[in-house]
């Protein structure tokens, strides 16, 4: 894990280190068990095609959880994620890169906390942001 990021190190417009994912179908099955989302479009090709999809697709909530990891790895060990989420705008397929990224949109101190707001997203191999979202984290200050 990288060194601790402090509030003072961060500027609006900064990109945070990206996180690269590529889901095997096996990972989708592990996620189904972990999340309790057993909807068949995520592991049963025939079922997925009957609903009009080309093939099985990555769970939206898994991509959201990837954004959780992106943020956690950036703020840990001393920072904390207070808000994160995204809209599921586009579908991602297994065995394709999903690149998670983020950019700082705002930083401020409030009630003694050092808060950083970000835009976050996952991007598919065509460069489309399939899950645009936002996040709020608290970082330690060098005080």
């Amino acid at each position: 894990m990288a060194e601790q990021v402090y509030f003072e190190d961060v500027n609006e417009g900064d990109s945070i280190p990206e996180l690269r994912k590529n889901c095997s179908t096996q990972q989708l099955v592990v996620w189904a068990a972990a999340s309790g989302d057993f909807y068949q479009i995520h592991y049963d090709q025939e079922f997925a095609q009957k609903t009009g999809l080309d093939t099985i697709i990555v769970h939206g909530a898994l991509k959201n959880a990837f954004l959780g990891q992106l943020l956690h790895d950036w703020v840990a060990p001393a920072g904390a994620i207070t808000e994160f989420g995204c809209q599921y705008r586009g579908m991602d397929r297994p065995n394709q890169d999903i690149v998670c990224g983020g950019v700082v949109t705002k930083k401020y101190a409030q009630d003694g906390q050092h808060i950083v707001e970000l835009d976050v997203w996952t991007e598919n191999p065509s460069g489309q942001r399939t899950t645009p979202g936002t996040a709020k984290v608290v970082l330690p200050s060098r005080g």
Binding site: M1, K21, Q27, V30, W31, A33, A34, S35, G36, Y39, T51, G52, H59, G60, A61, L62, N64, A65, F66, G68, Q69, L71, H72, D73, A76, P77, A80, I81, T82, E83, F84, G85, C86, Q87, Y88, G133, T134
Partner: protein, 156 residues
Amino acid sequence: MAESVITDEMRTAIGVESAPSTLEVTTVGCRLFARAVGHTDLIFYDEAAARERGYRGIVAPPGFLGTPVYQPGGRDPEAMGPRYKIPYKRILNGGTSYQHFEPVVAGDVITSRSHITEFREREGTMGAMLITYRETVYTREDGAVVAKMYGNIINY
């Protein structure tokens, strides 16, 4: 835009709180969730690593608020909230957003309650769709609200 599918029955469902669900945050559940995502921080896997960092136990990864207690025969239908008919067959998760107020750790037992906040309709590339917005509040046994989730489901 096609005729609205939002009925009076659906409108009366807005704001009606579901029956509570119990979610258990276990060591196994935290590890499985962390593994499924690909987390590498040991606080999600190892008790000693988590305690060394000041947590009460193995930490629930971001977005994990426990595993609903399973009952054979299905959940109490009341826990799913009010039932109404929607004229669409297909369903997608439209988005999820979490607010985390306090760390959740293995051993916590959480009660969740949710309600619909809004219905919206849109004409998309996939045809007419109904978007249902829901808010879920997660409360620990000592009464502390540890998280909230804002989600939307798309029927089309």
